[in-house]
Every structure is written in structure tokens, then in C-alpha cells.
């Protein structure tokens, strides 16, 4: 049904672009709260007038120029209380984030309450006076992407129940996630196997021969594992804390290529005895690959390092468990023809094939 003057909005869904939403996440850890507030730049522009030169294009410089009124507006719009006691709020440094309908200002929010956090009274009243359909969507205790409950024009406060996560528990959860990630991460597993298959052997001319003593084998394994660990810890840390923002697609491609190279090195060795260098160089790529898993943990704020630390520990533990299971078996089998003639070349060839398929698939 269509109407000339005003009623045209009727059947064309009013969902046009998207209603105005802000996203507020909060996680509790004992008496500390940490989280993030994302507010659309076009909404903040309406409140504060961010477009300094009035050209209709909002630049990062223009946003930064209005940093203090922005902070004041955001701070005044939020309040957290525990019983009758306020939990003073602090806003972190400004950054931006992309949501489905445009660019948002993203600000870390931290607060400290007088006592251990179980239930809090939260107030949010940004924007309602200029957009009556605005919603502040709240997600508590790290369930990012899970359940959102809305602050609306008529509901500007709500009581939120927090499952407070202690430092130990946070690290523990991240640890388990790290172990899990290795256990299901076929590309990481293939990479490790490709590097470890020759550990019980050594190069003699154009052949692989069994190592006579266990110590050099152990040393070789230790070098490979350490190099891999150091490398992926570096890049995981850099990416988790936002120093590097790697392009996810090409990280996946690089990881697939790294697996292929490690396997290829077993068939046509270019660094037969110094595979730790491959473990290091290519391990750097695997660290980038772990970042998405860390992000899924919903860790943010000052306690983020606990998650990164726990996750990395979990990755190492999972990796060591595999090494511990694999190396003794390989050691026992090393002199058998089945190992040198079948497991080592065929295993490497299979890994190479799979890795090339992944590469093709991921490009």
C-alpha cells in the first residue's frame, strides 16, 4: 500500500540501513571490570559535531581533534554502581572498528568496584535524547557475540549478573583453548610432523640414515620445537596486542605454504640439518594464525596478557604432548625400512600434497 505524503515508509521496511546501535562489552575479574564501548561515528557526529571542516567526510584527524568532548560525553553517559557504591570508570585510548553499517569509535572501558563483582547496576544514556530508537547493546562477562541485552529510551538502567572470572580461571580457560587449538589445528600438526619426521635421522650424502645416539635426536627436536615456540610467541604477541594487524587471508595462505615447504624439505632437502631455521621462519606465520583464536576468547583490557600467556602455554603443552608421543615411536622405528622407505618419504609427500591443496583452496 503506497501513500503520497507520509505513509510511504509503511511497506518498504523501515529497516533501511540499520538502526542506531552501540555495543558495550564488559568482563569482570574479581573487583575489576574491563571491556569496550563501540559507538557509530555518524551518531557521535550528531551529538558533538565531529566534522570540523564541514565537508561531509569524517577523518581520523577530525575525530582526534574532538577527543576531550568525546570522552566527556561518553563518560557522562555511562555509570556503574555496586549496591550504592559507584565503580569509577576510565576510558582507554581511542581507536576505531568496522561494523556492518559503518565505522565506530572503539574505546576500552575499565572500572574498579569496592568489592568482588557479582551483580552490578549499569546505566547507559548516550544518544537517546537525539535518537529515540537508539539502543545500547550490552554483553557481559566475555560472551562477546553471544547474548546482547538492550538499553533503550525507556530502559536506561539494567542490573547485570557477572560470572566473575579470576586471573587463574582466565589463564586456565585460555590454556585449554590453546591445547584445543593445537589438537584441532591440522595445519599446525602437519607442520610439526613434517619438521619432526627427520629428527631421528641424519643426512649422509643423498640418503637419510638412522642416528646412532639418542642425544643428537633430542637436541634436534629441542631446536625445532624451541624455534617454533619462540617464533609464534613473538608474532602472536605482536598481533594480539594490535602492533601488527595481519591480513587474515594471506596468513592462512602463508601457513599452508609453510607446511608445504617443511614437507618439501624432507623430500628435496635444502636445509636438512638446520630445520630449526624453517621452524622459526615459518613459525612466525603460525603465530599470526593463532590470533583469531585469541580474539574469540573475547579477551580485552588490562587482563588480556593473561589470556595471551595462557593460550601460548596451552599451545606449547599441546605441542609437547605430540612430541612426547611421536619421538619415542620414531626413535624405535628409525632403523626399520618401513620408516625410511615409507613413513618418511610417503608421510612427507602426503603432507606436501595436502598443504598444496590448502594453498590452492585458500587463495
Amino acid at each position: 500500500m503506497k501513500h503520497l505524503l507520509l505513509v510511504i515508509l509503511l511497506a518498504t521496511p523501515a529497516l533501511a540501513h540499520k538502526g542506531s546501535d552501540a555495543y558495550w562489552t564488559l568482563t569482570a575479574s574479581n573487583t575489576a571490570l574491563s571491556g569496550r564501548l563501540d559507538v557509530a561515528l555518524k551518531d557521535l557526529d550528531l551529538l558533538i559535531g565531529l566534522d570540523g571542516n564541514g565537508d561531509g567526510k569524517l577523518s581520523w584527524g577530525e575525530v582526534k581533534a574532538k577527543e576531550s568532548p568525546l570522552r566527556e560525553t561518553l563518560t557522562n553517559a555511562l555509570a556503574i554502581t555496586q549496591g550504592a557504591q559507584p565503580c569509577p570508570l576510565t576510558l582507554g585510548s581511542l581507536s576505531v572498528i568496522t561494523h556492518s553499517d559503518g565505522t565506530y569509535l572503539a574505546t576500552p572501558v575499565t572500572a574498579r568496584c569496592p568489592a568482588a563483582i557479582t551483580e552490578l547496576e549499569l546505566k547507559y544514556e548516550l544518544l537517546f535524547d537525539v535518537d529515540a530508537q537508539h539502543r545500547g547493546l550490552l554483553s557481559v562477562s566475555g560472551t562477546a557475540g553471544g547474548n546482547w541485552s538492550a538499553f533503550t529510551n525507556n530502559r536506561r538502567t539494567q542490573t547485570a549478573a557477572f560470572t566473575s572470572i579470576g586471573a587463574g580461571e582466565q589463564t586456565g580457560l585460555a590454556f585449554l583453548e590453546g591445547v584445543h587449538h593445537i589438537a584441532i589445528g591440522w595445519d599446525h600438526l602437519c607442520f610439526l610432523f613434517a619438521l619432526l619426521l627427520p629428527s631421528v635421522l641424519r643426512r649422509a650424502g643423498a640418503d637419510w640414515v638412522p642416528r646412532p645416539a639418542f642425544k643428537p635426536t633430542l637436541l634436534d627436536v629441542a631446536k625445532v620445537v624451541t624455534a617454533f615456540t619462540v617464533a609464534h610467541s613473538i608474532t602472536l604477541g605482536l598481533a594480539a596486542f594490535g602492533v601488527i594487524n595481519p591480513n587474515g587471508k594471506w596468513v592462512e595462505v602463508a601457513i599452508a605454504v609453510s607446511v608445504a615447504l617443511a614437507a618439501f624439505n624432507n623430500l628435496v632437502p635444502f636445509v636438512p640439518e638446520t630445520r630449526w631455521s624453517l621452524a622459526f621462519s615459518l613459525g612466525l606465520m603460525h603465530g599470526f594464525g593463532f590470533v583469531s583464536a585469541i580474539r574469540d576468547l573475547g579477551a580485552a583490557g588490562p587482563s588480556m596478557w593473561l589470556s595471551v600467556f595462557g593460550f601460548n602455554l596451552g599451545v606449547e603443552a599441546g605441542q609437547l604432548a605430540i612430541v612426547a608421543a611421536f619421538v619415542p615411536v620414531a626413535w624405535l622405528l628409525r632403523a626399520r625400512p618401513v620408516y625410511r622407505a615409507l613413513l618418511m618419504p610417503l608421510g612427507s609427500a602426503v603432507i606436501l600434497g595436502v598443504a598444496l591443496f590448502w594453498t590452492w583452496q585458500r587463495i
Partner: protein, 388 residues
């Protein structure tokens, strides 16, 4: 350290460096823009926000501007929310000033609060029986609620207080959903609308042609309507549906190319791209999925018609589609709503769920053959076709 080892190590460092300096296309998390000049968002060139409280007349003018702007933008909910905020001092008033009440009714209607809008409109026409806008809006709302005799009566009230074109279109729309689409078309064809009414009349004529089963004519008329007003979202959606029904999905998809589409248009575009097996399908589908997810987070219940279609055609969730279609029919009863319910009920093999629409088809003698084909128990001869 041999050369190969050194080469491998340097290669790894170089590769990592490449990732540092390469633009991070994957900006799923927060980031600090690299340059102050980086443009982050387009905003209206001037949004002077009034700092002093507005008078009744100022507020009415501003709210109307925002509503008009929202309409041009395909119903941007941000602008509607701003219009509502402008009316905030009077939003809960039992009897606000008339110039506020009509805008409040319009907004309530756009938020699909039809009953709420009707209360305001009843008060409005009682206070001022010469308010043509109120009678016209009232007729539309009553039609959406399937209260056709009252809608018809509301159109009759326009006689003498509005121009003949408005009266005729109001009548024709009610006739169109009560089995007299062809008659209504004849009525509209005899009109000579003023320039600013031409697009509107063409759009309604196109819709009537579609309802009477003459999609060839609907296509021609709606194409003409879009030439008159390229921003007419309503006609574009309808034309896309007509083309899609006529097995021309590529042409339907082309209608949305290069336009900033609203969610309803994006859904139609994706349906068309899917039917046309277009390579653009994946990209647009991802965009639509993202918007649907955002609306669900928001807890929107406004768009059940579109959500039902999305669930049925794209998610393949028959039960959800039916549930949404049933809920939607309880709120609004336009032909497009009837179709969504029929399609969902057919997919769910639940003819029982379609009964309200079957009843509606029988009561209204609605003529569109497509709907009658979808209906689980086709009506007999007397209901089909046009009454003389």
C-alpha cells in the same frame, strides 16, 4: 651457519615484515588509523542540532524534515529515531497539539505500531474533520489491518477536502485489495495527475496491474514510475518481484546495481542474484547476512515479512520462516504478507497454517493469480477473476 639456513631465516623475517607493512585488510578488531587524513565515515554536511528547546511548530517542522529525508533514504531508521526524539516532549501526551499528533501517528505507523497510529489518527480526524492527511493515512493503516470497509469510508471523507487525484488513488488502493483491481486501474487511467503526483499514481497503477495478474503491464508501468522518480524504493521492489516472478532474475538484480540499498532491497537483490546464479551472489549474501545478524542483535521485530523470506529462501529454515510469517500476518495484512505466509506454509507442508490467508483471499476476492495458485485450497470459480 650455512647459506641456505641464513636464507631461510632472512626469508622468514622478510615475510613477517611484509605482514607489518601490508595493509591489514582484515580489520575485524579495533585499530588506530594510520593517518590523520584517513576518511572513516560519510556524515551529513551540516547537522545543526538545536540547543534550545523547540517550540511546537519548530519541532513539527524539524520532525517532518527528518521523516521526508528518511523517506528519500529508503526509510533510514536513524532518521526516524531522530524525528521521534524531536517529538519527545509530546510523545507520551494523551492529546498533543494536532501538528505533532499527525507526525506521531506517521512515526508509529513506520515502527509498525498500527494500532497506536490508529488511536492518534482517530483523535486527529475527530478534532479536525477537514485534515485530509489524517484521513488518507487512516485509510492506509486500516487497509493494512484488513479493515477495508472502514478504509473505504475514510477515503470517502476526502471528497471535497482533497484534490480528485488523492481521492481516486485512496479508493483505488482499497479496491485493489478487495477484488476490484481492474476496475481501479481503469479509474486511475482516467486521471490527469499533477507533476508531483505522477510517480505516485504510476506506482499504484503498476501495483494494481500486478495484483490483477497482468505482469506485462505492471512491468511497463513500474518502469515508467521509476523513470519519474528514481528514488522510489516501493516501485523498485515491486518491479523486481514482477521480474523475478517472470523468470528474469538478471534484470531484477540489475535494478539495484550501484545503489545504496536498504535491507528490503538488499534481500530482493540477493534473491535475484541467487536465481540468476550471478557471481556477485556471494558478496551480497555476506552483506545481507551481516545486516540480518545486526538486526537480530538489536532485537528488531519490525521486519518479520522480510525475515520470513530470508529464513525460507536463503537459510532454508522452513519452521522459522513459517513462525515469522504467522506472527507477521497477525500484525499486517497486505498482499505481500499473504504471499509470504502462503509460501512458508507450503514449504512447511502445513496447509493449516495458511488458513487465515485462505480465508482472507475468499473474503476479499483478491485477484492475483499467483496468490491463488499458492493457496492450499483453491477457491472455486466464483472467487476467481474480476467482478464486472
Amino acid at each position: 651457519m650455512n647459506r641456505a639456513t641464513l636464507f631461510v631465516l632472512l626469508g622468514g623475517v622478510a615475510l613477517t615484515a611484509a605482514f607489518i607493512f601490508a595493509p591489514g585488510a582484515d580489520q575485524s578488531g579495533p585499530f588506530v588509523p594510520k593517518s590523520d587524513d584517513q576518511v572513516l565515515e560519510q556524515v551529513p554536511k551540516s547537522t545543526p542540532r538545536p540547543t534550545t528547546p523547540l517550540t511546537v511548530d519548530e519541532a513539527a517542522v524539524r520532525a517532518r524534515q527528518l521523516i521526508d529525508e528518511a523517506r528519500k533514504e529508503g526509510g533510514d531508521p536513524r532518521l526516524l529515531g531522530r524525528a521521534q526524539a524531536t517529538l519527545a516532549p509530546w510523545w507520551a501526551d494523551a492529546s498533543p497539539p494536532p501538528q505533532i499528533r499527525i507526525l506521531r501517528a506517521t512515526l508509529k505507523q513506520s515502527f509498525h505500531d498500527f494500532e497506536g497510529a490508529l488511536v492518534d489518527l482517530e483523535a486527529q480526524v475527530a478534532a479536525d474533520p477537514s485534515d485530509a492527511q489524517a484521513w488518507l493515512t487512516r485509510a492506509t493503516v486500516l487497509s493494512v489491518l484488513a479493515r477495508y470497509p472502514e478504509a473505504q469510508a475514510s477515503c470517502e471523507k476526502l471528497e471535497g477536502i482533497s484534490n480528485p487525484v488523492v481521492v481516486a488513488v485512496c479508493r483505488a488502493q482499497v479496491m485493489g485489495v478487495t477484488g476490484r483491481a481492474k476496475e481501479a486501474m481503469t479509474l486511475l487511467e482516467s486521471l490527469t495527475p499533477a507533476a508531483e503526483e505522477r510517480g505516485w499514481v504510476l506506482s499504484v497503477r503498476g501495483e494494481l496491474a500486478h495484483w490483477s495478474g497482468d505482469d506485462t503491464r505492471a512491468e511497463a508501468t513500474l518502469t515508467q514510475a521509476l523513470t519519474v522518480d528514481p528514488n522510489d524504493t516501493y516501485s523498485r521492489l515491486l518491479l523486481a518481484q514482477v521480474l523475478l516472478d517472470g523468470g528474469q532474475p538478471a534484470r531484477a538484480a540489475k535494478l539495484f546495481e550501484g545503489r545504496a540499498v536498504n535491507d528490503g532491497e538488499l534481500l530482493m537483490q540477493v534473491l535475484a542474484l541467487s536465481a540468476a546464479k550471478s557471481p556477485d551472489y556471494e558478496t551480497k549474501r555476506a552483506e545481507l547476512d551481516e545486516r540480518v545478524a545486526a538486526n537480530r542483535q538489536r532485537g528488531e521485530t519490525l521486519h518479520q515479512r522480510e525475515e520470513s523470506r530470508y529464513a525460507l529462501a536463503l537459510e532454508g529454515d522452513v519452521n522459522k520462516a513459517l513462525e515469522l510469517a504467522v506472527k507477521n500476518w497477525a500484525v499486517q495484512k497486505e498482499p505481500a504478507d499473504a504471499r509470504v505466509l502462503l509460501e512458508a506454509a507450503a514449504a512447511a507442508k502445513s496447509p493449516q497454517a495458511a488458513q487465515p490467508v485462505v480465508k482472507w483471499l475468499a473474503q476479499t476476492n483478491f485477484t492475483q493469480p499467483k496468490l491463488n495458485q499458492l493457496s492450499p485450497s483453491p477457491r472455486g470459480g466464483e472467487g476467481r477473476g474480476e467482478r464486472p
